[in-house]
Amino acid sequence: MSESPTERDPLELLAAEYTERLRQGHHPSISDYAAQHPELADEIRDLFPTIVITERMKTRQARSSDGRASLGGKTLERLGDFRLIREIGRGGMGVVFEAEQESLGRRVAVKVLPRQVLLDDRHLKRFQREARIAANLHHTNIVEVFGVGDQEGFHYYVMQFIEGVGLERLIPELARRICKTTLHGSAPSAEDPTPTDSSPDAGSPAATIAQLLLGKEPGDAGTPLPGSHYWRSVARIGLQAAEALQHAHSRGTLHRDIKPANLLLDTQGTVWLADFGLAKAAQSEDISLTNDIVGTLRYMAPEQFRGTTDHRSDIYSLGLTLYELLALHPAYAETSQSRLMHQISQGQAISIDPPSGKVPAELETIILKTISHDSCDRYSSAAALAEDLRCYLEDRPISARRVSPVERLVRWCRRNPSLATLSGTTLTLLLLVAVVASVGYLRTNQALRGEALARGRAEASASLAVEALDRIFERLSPGQMLTPPPLSIEGTKGETIEIPSSTILSRDSATLLEGMLPFYDRLARQSADNDSLRARTAEANRRLGSIHQRLGQFAEAENDYQRAAELYQKLRAGSPSDPKLRLDLARVYNEWGRIHATQQQPDLARKSHEEALALMETSTPASPASAPLRFELARTCYFLGTRERPMPATAPPETDPSRSREPASPQRNPDDRNKLLSRAVTVLNELTGSPEDPKRAPTDSPPHPEYQHLLALCYLEGATDADGRSQGRGGADRAIEILEALVAAFPNISDYSFDLSEACIRMHIPRPPIPPSTQEMIEARFARSLDLLEKLVLRNPDIPDYVSAAARTHHKLGSFQRQMDRWGEAEQCFRRAVALQTPLVKQFPDAPRPALWLATFRIALADVLIRKNQVEEARSELEATISSLLTQLKAKPGSASIQDILAFGYTKLEIALRQSGESELAQEAARKSREIRNTLRNSR
C-alpha cells in the first residue's frame, strides 16, 4: 500500500505530515511550517489550526509493542515519598517496584501505570475510586492498598509489600519438580513473565515455597509424586483465598481478575490476593486488552464474555486457579484468543488429570463445582466454598455432589435452547444414553483395572449406549438409502447438467448430533485392551463417522471410518473367520463409499464398495452367511449397481428430447449394474424366503421391513435404467407396491413414506399425446407423492429435505401440466414450489443448492407467465432471479451450475422483453445469455 505522493495535493501531504507529528507528541510550530513552505504559507496558517483543534481531543493510549506495560524508557528512582528499590514484576497493567516509603520507613510495593494512561478524567476518577474501595478492604489474605498518587504523569498504586511468589511462577516450578520424577521429564513452562530470577534454584523463594507445598525437605533427592500433603496444601490455599473473597464480596467489591498471577504465596504458607478492583479501574483502557489478554481471558467465567459479572464469576476464576494448581496445567490451555473464548463459552467438561497421582475425589468434586459453566451451578457464595474446603481438610463430608453425566446432559440441554423444539421421546432417549454411557464408562474403567467380572457389563452397557444413540440418531436425520435427485438444468448445448443434492440437516438436528459426538467420542476413545471392548470401540468410531457424515463433516467422518476399519482389521487378525467382524468391516467400507459418492468421487466410492463386496464374498464357503451379512451383501450390490448419477427429477421438458446425457466417466456399464441389482434382488428374496413373485409381496406387517425396503429400492433403480424402459416400468410398479405395503404397516417410519413419495414420481413422462389412462396414472402418482410429502412435512417440520422434496415434486408436476398445455395449473404448481422453497433459502443462506432450486422454480414460473401473457410479472420475476443469481455468482465465481441457470434465465428474459416490445433490452439479454454459454463452453 504505497502512497503515490505525486498525485496528492501538496498541502494535503504537508497536513498529513503535520498531523503525524502532532500525534507523536511533538508540538510542531505552524509558523515554522509556513516559513519552510512559503508557497503554501497562507493556507498553512489558515488551515492548520483547525487540524490542531480536531486532533486535540485525542487520547490517551499507552503504546506498548509487546503488550506489557512500558514506562516509555524512563528510569524511575523516586515517586514522591517512595524510593524505588527494584523492579519486581511487570504485567499488562503496570510495572511493580519494591520501594521504601521514606517518611514511615516501611517497605511497600508500588505499581506504576504507563504515562499516557488515565489522561481522561473519567478513567482517572474510576481508577481513584477503585483504589479507594480496595484500600477499605482489610483482611489477612488481601494485599493491603495504601493509596494512589501521581507524579510526572505517572499514576501509581501503593500496596503492602509481600515477600512471596505469584502462583503463576510457582506452578511451573511445581510442575518441574514433579515431572522430573516422572516419565514426562518436560521442562517447566518457559513463559515465566518475570525476568528476574527466572530459574529458581534450591534457595529461591519459589523453590522454598514449592517444597513447603509438597511437604518435603528442600534438597530431597527425587521428590516423589504429590501426595496427600500437597492436596491439602492446595485446599488450604483455596480456603484462604475463598475467605478473602468472601470478605470483599460481603462489602460489595468484586475482584474481576482472579488468576494465578494475582494470588501470592509467602514463605509462611499465607495466601495474598492482589490487585483488587484494578481490572475494573483499567477497564476500557488499552492496557487491559493488550497482548496480555489471553493471560486474563483464560480465567474468565463464560458469563463475563456476555458482559455479566457477579461474585460467582470470581468463584469460578478462583476455581480455575485451583484447578491449575492441582493439574499443573491450565484448564483451558488454548493460546489463541478466539479458540480460548470458544472453549470457555462451550464449557467443555473437564476433569482434573494431573501428570501424576490422583486428586482425591472430594477435592475434585469441590473444584469442579466452582467451575460449573452456569453460575447457578456453582457455590452460591465464597463462604460456601470455604466451608466445603474446610470440611475436606477436616475429613468431614462435603456438601458438593459429584455431577452425574445425566446432570451434565441436562445442563448442556439448558444451554441449547433449540432443544425446546425436540420431542419428548428424543430427550428421554438422550437421557438414557447419558445414563448408559456413563455407567458403561465407569464399568469400562473398572474393566481396565482388571476386574474381570466387570468386563462383561462394561461391554453390555457400551453396546446399549450405542444402540440408544443410534435410535436418536435415526430420528434426527432420516437414513436415506435413496439419494435425493440432483438438480438438473439445461446445459449450453441442451444437454442436462446435474447438481447432486445432499442432505441438509436442520440446524436443531445438527446441534443435537454435534452434542452427541462427545458421548460417542468417549466410547470411541476408550483404550481397549481386550477384543470385545475393542469391538465396541470400533463400533463407536463407526457411529461417530456416521454422525459426522450426516453433519456434512466428511473429512472427520473419513477419519472415524479409518480408525474403525483399523480396529476391525486388528480384530480380524485375531480371528480371521469371524463373520461378525467381516460384516462390521464391510459396513464401514460401504459407508466410506457413500461419503466418496456424496463427494463426487465415484472411483473411490466404487473401490470402497468393492472392498466390502470382496470381504463378504470370502465369507460364503463352509459356514452359511448370516442374514445380516447377506443383507449387507445385497446393500453393497445395490450401491454398486446404482447409477452414479441418479436420474434427474426435473428436466425442463421443452429441452430437446434427443439430449445426450453426458457420459459419466467411470460409469459402470448397464449390464454389470443389472447383474449387481439382480444379485441384490436374489439375495433379498432368499432372505425373505419368497420367490420373486409380486403376489407374495408383503401385504401385512412384513417380518423384515428393511429387506423389503431395499428390495423396493433395487426395483426402483432398475426402473430408472436408461435403456430398459419397459422392464423398468414393471420395476417401478413393484417398488411402489412394496413401499405402499411398508408405509401401510409402518406409517410412522418416515423413510418409507419418503422413498415412496420419490418412487411415485420417478416415472418417465412420455411426450404428448398421452393416452388418458397413462395420464390418469401419472396424475395419481403425483397426488400420492404430494400427499405423502405433505404429511411428512407436517410431522417433521424441522427436516428440510421433506420440504425441499415437496417443492421439487410441485415443480415436476408443474412441468407436466405445462406439457399438457394446462397453463393455469402449471402456474399454481410453480407458485407452490416457489413458496415452499423460499423459506429454505432463508434458512440455509450459505448452502448454494436451495437457492439454485429456487431460481429454477422461479424461471419455470416466469416461463408459464410469459405463455399466459402476464409478461410484466414474468419480467420482474426473471429480473429478481437473475439479480440473486448474480449475487450468488459473485460468492462463487466461475460456478458452472449458477452460470447455466443464469444463461437460461437470460434466455427467458429475452423472450419476455421481446414480447413487451423492448427489443433493445431483449437483444442485450440475448447477448448476455450467449456470452455466458460461450464462457461455459470454453471452460468445459
Binding site: 502512497e3 496528492r8 495535493d9 500525534r23 458482559g307 478466539s338
Partner: protein, 214 residues
C-alpha cells in the same frame, strides 16, 4: 512508515491470505488502536453507557476469525480496511441489537453507516468535546446543536473524509480505499473538507476565537 514495518505488514498480509489465525491476531493487536478509534468514534451516545469500545472490539475480533477464511479466499481490500469493515459491521449489529428500530431516526440517518451513529453526530460530539471545558458544560448542549447543524451542511463525502482522516486515523490511501475513490481525489477532498470545516466553525461565535493562528 518505515521499511521495517512495511515488511511486517507485507508478511502479515501474506499469512492472512493463507488463512493464518495467528496472523489475524497479530494484525488485530497491531491495528487495535485505530480500530478502537473507529468504535470510539462511531459508537452512539446512548450505547456508550452500555458498551465499552473494548466489548465491541472483542466482538469484532470474533467476527473476523469467523470470516477469515472467506477473506483469505477472496481478499478484495487491504487487511486493515477489511478489519475496519468488520468493526463497522459489528457496530451496526450491536446498534441494531441494542437500539432496535428506535434509532431509525431520519435526521440521524444521513451517514453511510446507516445504523451506527451518524458521522455528523460523531464529529460534532468530538469537536465540541475538544473545545468545551467541563466548566462550561451548560453551554455544551447549545454548542453541540450548533456544531451538529454545521456539520450537517457539509457534503457527506467530505464529512466522511474528515472523520476517517482525523477520528479514525486512516492514511490518505486507506481513505481512498475505504470510500472507493482515487487517492488523488481523496487528497483533494480532504483539503476541501478541512477548509469547509474551518469556515463553518468560524460562524459559531463561541468557537471562532479558537480558529485563529497565533
Amino acid at each position: 512508515m518505515t521499511g521495517d514495518s512495511n515488511l511486517i505488514i507485507q508478511d502479515l498480509e501474506k499469512r492472512l491470505r493463507s488463512g493464518d489465525q495467528q496472523a489475524l491476531a497479530d494484525l488485530f493487536s497491531r491495528e487495535r488502536e485505530r480500530l478502537w478509534r473507529v468504535i470510539h468514534f462511531r459508537l452512539a451516545e446512548p450505547l456508550r453507557r452500555r458498551l465499552e469500545p473494548d466489548d465491541v472490539l472483542q466482538e469484532a475480533f470474533l467476527a473476523a476469525t469467523k470470516r477469515l477464511d472467506h477473506y483469505a479466499s477472496s481478499p478484495t481490500t487491504s487487511p486493515f480496511i477489511w478489519l475496519r469493515m468488520i468493526v463497522n459491521q459489528t457496530l451496526i449489529d450491536l446498534h441494531r441489537e441494542h437500539l432496535g428500530a428506535q434509532k431509525r431516526d431520519a435526521s440521524l440517518d444521513v451517514s453511510i453507516h446507516a445504523h451506527s451513529q451518524s458521522t455528523s453526530a460523531s464529529v460534532a460530539i468530538q469537536l465540541v468535546g475538544a473545545f468545551i471545558s467541563p466548566s462550561r458544560a451548560a453551554a455544551r448542549a447549545d454548542i453541540l446543536a450548533a456544531v451538529y447543524a454545521t456539520i450537517e451542511q457539509m457534503d457527506p463525502t467530505d464529512r466522511e473524509v474528515l472523520a476517517l482522516r482525523h477520528f479514525e486515523e486512516l492514511t490518505n490511501s486507506e481513505v481512498a480505499e475505504a470510500l472507493g475513490i482515487e487517492q488523488k481525489a481523496a487528497s483533494i477532498r480532504y483539503i476541501r473538507a478541512l477548509r469547509r470545516l474551518k469556515e463553518l466553525l468560524a460562524q459559531i461565535p463561541d468557537l471562532s476565537g479558537e480558529l485563529h493562528h497565533e
